[in-house]
């Protein structure tokens, strides 16, 4: 039995939104300005372990490719890149974001800055969260003939695996010094580790606030606001931003401010939505439905402690953790703990737990429906998705499933997906657009 909420709430824009945009613009420019400032440019999908590179001083990291965000706003350009990757012999089951990344390389986009200056990164540093990333890094390293380091991240949290990760990080530091000729600064590592840990904990706390009725943020807010964690979670300004955001969101709850003014029904978006198709979420607006969260914005950016009952809570901050953070060794141990103990997405083997997470999240976030993109191309994020869908249905949760690749617009059948969603809202959830 679905419960509809016709309460009208106040709503207002997010005050620190402009700061988020400003920081994102700074980050884009940084890629092209770093060399002039005497800083290092590191290629690699580096949203994790950024602190490790911080010991080199400030560095630029164009992550999924320097022009990816722009390409996702311009699907025709993205398709041009993807067609080139096809022509180079890379098939379409390969991770779509990595194909978009490679497409920028193969079309020569990465060879130049936006104002046409030649561009060459200094290093490839790639945590192996998923093998598609080091495979991409390998190609970048061969293309630019630059040093390449792989940080192999285990999937199961054991003492031995933490020791493996820490030993590699030690090696990584030596490699960075040798490859760049720079002296590594442990103080910067320690500071960055504190920022990385606490930013991720803060993000978890912000996401948890969305359990409130009304939700202070919606999925589109979360999707944009998380981006600083993807790009420089190790920085002072990132931590400051999330502190500000956390305070603001708490105030929104205190003042009864909602994300959209109305939330007739609350929904979750599990799995990756199409990066180029976020207007899909706007369809829900006319029905008064609000997407209040989902695994992807939560897990790829936040630190989470998963309880026995499979609810996710914020882990201790680095201070609350009660372990020293004074030396390089302390920092590396903290990073190993952060990623092996508190990052559920890494633990993709053994997805029986993940299935229960989805069902519990519906309960915790007071959701009454779930939308899933059965993304064929990201296997880490979609491991066990089908089983989770079955579990949700068994639990009586209405589920809508569509299919498209998160970063390949050629797979996106917009009219079909919109129709599915409309039918979900109207037929399964009983919503009308007379809100």
């Amino acid at each position: 039995m679905l419960n509809y909420n016709f309460t009208r709430y106040e709503t207002k824009p997010i005050e620190c939104w402009a700061r988020m945009k400003e920081l994102r613009r700074m980050r884009f420019r940084h890629t092209w300005e770093a060399h002039e400032k005497g800083e290092v440019v590191i290629i690699g999908t580096l949203e994790w372990f950024m602190s490790l590179c911080a010991g080199l001083g400030d560095f630029a990291n164009p992550s999924y490719g320097p022009y990816t965000t722009g390409l996702m706003r311009e699907p025709r350009q993205a398709i041009r890149c993807l067609d080139k990757v096809d022509a180079m012999g890379y098939r379409r089951d390969i991770c779509a974001p990595m194909r978009v990344n490679l497409g920028q390389l193969f079309t020569g986009m990465v060879d130049k800055s936006p104002n046409g200056k030649p561009f060459k990164p200094d290093l490839v540093f790639q945590p192996n969260m998923c093998f598609n990333m080091p495979k991409t890094g390998q190609i970048y390293a061969n293309y630019f003939k630059i040093p390449f380091f792989i940080l192999d991240v285990p999937h199961i949290d054991t003492e031995a695996n933490r020791a493996y990760l820490i030993a590699q990080m030690q090696r990584a530091i030596e490699w960075m010094e040798t490859s760049t000729g720079r002296k590594y600064n442990d103080e910067k590592l320690i500071r960055a580790t504190r920022n990385e840990w606490n930013s991720m904990v803060l993000w978890a706390k912000i996401c948890l606030l969305n359990q409130n009725i009304p939700a202070p943020l919606n999925f589109r807010h979360l999707w944009s606001l998380r981006l600083l964690l993807r790009t420089f979670r190790h920085k002072d300004e990132t931590l400051e931003f999330y502190k500000t955001l956390y305070d603001e969101v708490k105030e929104r709850i205190r003042d009864g401010i909602s994300a959209q003014g109305i939330e007739v029904i609350r929904l979750l978006q599990e799995s990756l939505p199409p990066f180029y198709g976020h207007d899909l979420f706007k369809l829900a607006d006319k029905y008064g439905a609000v997407y209040v969260g989902g695994e992807i914005p939560f897990t790829t950016n936040g630190a989470w402690l998963v309880k026995e009952d499979r609810s996710w809570i914020a882990p201790p901050t680095i201070e609350e953790r009660g372990k020293p953070l004074r030396t390089r060794e302390d920092a590396l141990q903290a990073l190993a703990e952060l990623y092996l103990a508190y990052t559920p997405v890494i633990a993709w083997p053994g997805y029986d737990k993940r299935i229960n997470d989805w069902v519990k999240r519906v309960e915790d976030y007071h959701a009454q429906g779930v939308v899933v993109n059965l993304d064929p191309s990201c296997r880490v994020s979609s491991a066990g998705t089908e089983e989770a869908i079955l579990a949700l249905k068994k639990a009586g949760v209405p589920v809508c499933v569509y299919e498209c690749e998160e970063a390949d617009p050629r797979t996106f059948n917009g009219p079909q997906i919109r129709e599915k969603l409309e039918l979900f809202y109207t037929e399964m959830l009983g919503l009308t657009d007379s809100v």
Binding site: R91, D93, I94, G350, S377, E387, L390
Partner: protein, 375 residues
């Protein structure tokens, strides 16, 4: 029954074989997924490890759990086989984290099907790094502990050594047989060799060794039709698709070499008997020719494939590509470049494991014709 017929028999009646073995020995049978489970460990514990395969029929019953739109046929086939009940004799299930696709099969199995013991070993993917062996050793030790707790006894060093010797002998014998394929009158055809390896993954290795020794003594059958078609190499992932290999042979080619998980990749390297045995076992698996998803920064797998191709005087290569197998899709450009640089034509054959389509046949025919024309 000849040795080759016995291999075939085990492959086609593997469940009956395993059940009979279980009855006769009064022992346990474990299923394992993929290339990286250290089989010597359960074997030393008196358990028969059998590699998991499907039956190459439609996988409808598995599709709700593992989508056919993104996961490979092989993993769905394995799980469908489990759902069908044909694996109900298994006492345990083991996997080493190495492939997203196989992991789906294992995880769905654990979720839905009764199994007394299951274990997942983590695997370092950066196998070319010098820390990988120590990492995998710890995981192997964790497996040993878990298994010993399950069976209620310690696995002795003597038992481990015996298991290693038996497995090494099996690998050595298969390598010897494979080496005969360098010549014009090999002991086996390519499809027979594949059945030999498949049988090895399904049988007690002592029995398999006896058959291999008998085969080596007998030599090449006198009535073997020494085909004169082009010498081909098959490259691919996890597969039990002997029918496609038979098709290639029926169309006039000789499959004389391979690099796939039911071929040389399974048996190419041994376990050292020097030093700590569990360490040696772990090291052997780390040192295997890596799967594409573990093959960085150097393209070791493609380089090894080329070496085999040259050693076996291969005239052409076919990559057997399972639909949605993204790891091997990374390897296609690398293999293509390496082989073409060495003037060895190479093609990609997209498999439909349920039906050999007319398109498959046409593509293979055209490739063979081209090779014949090039002489």
């Amino acid at each position: 029954m000849s040795e080759l017929e016995q291999f075939q028999n085990v492959v086609h009646h593997r469940h009956e074989y395993a059940k009979q073995w279980k009855r006769e020995k009064g022992a346990l049978v474990f299923g394992f997924f993929g290339d990286y489970v250290p089989e010597e460990i359960p074997y030393a514990a008196g358990i028969l490890p059998v590699k998991m395969f499907g039956c190459q029929k439609a996988t409808y019953i598995a599709d709700a759990h593992i989508s056919p739109e993104k996961w490979c046929f092989f993993c769905r086939d394995c799980f469908a086989e489990g759902l069908s009940g044909r694996y109900d004799y298994l006492d345990g299930l083991v996997i080493t984290v190495s492939c997203f696709h196989l992991q789906q099969s294992f995880d769905s199995w654990v979720l839905h099907l009764p199994i007394s013991f299951h274990h997942c070993l983590d695997m370092p993917f950066y196998v070319q790094g010098d820390l990988a062996k120590e990492c995998f050793l710890k995981e192997t030790e964790r497996f040993v502990d878990s298994l010993e707790q399950f069976i209620g006894k310690v696995i002795s060093s003597d038992a481990l050594e015996r298991a290693i010797r038996i497995y090494n002998k099996n690998r050595h014998l298969m390598r010897s047989i494979y080496n005969s394929m360098k010549a014009n009158a090999p002991l086996l055809s390519g499809s027979q060799a594949m059945e030999m390896v498949l049988a090895s993954t399904l049988m007690d290795k002592v029995e398999h060794n006896n058959l291999l020794e008998a085969l080596l003594i007998k030599g090449a059958p006198k009535d073997r039709d020494n085909a004169t078609g082009p010498r081909l190499m098959i490259i691919g992932a996890e597969t039990d698709d002997t029918e496609t290999v038979k098709l290639i042979e029926a169309l006039g080619a000789r499959v004389v070499a391979d690099l796939h998980s039911s071929g040389t990749r399974y048996f190419w390297n041994d376990v050292s008997l020097n030093g700590d045995l569990v360490s040696s076992i772990a090291a052997r698996y780390v040192d295997k020719i890596p799967l594409p998803q573990m093959d960085f920064p150097d393209d070791m797998s493609a380089s090894h494939a080329l070496k085999i191709a040259i050693d076996f005087k291969v005239q052409g290569a076919i990559i057997l590509l399972m639909p949605h197998c993204d790891p091997f899709q990374w390897d296609i450009p690398v293999l293509t470049k390496k082989f073409q640089e060495n003037n060895i034509p190479i093609m990609v054959l997209d498999l439909d494991p349920v039906t050999i389509t007319a398109m498959t046949r046409t593509r293979v025919e055209a490739f063979i014709e081209m090779l014949n024309a090039e002489g």
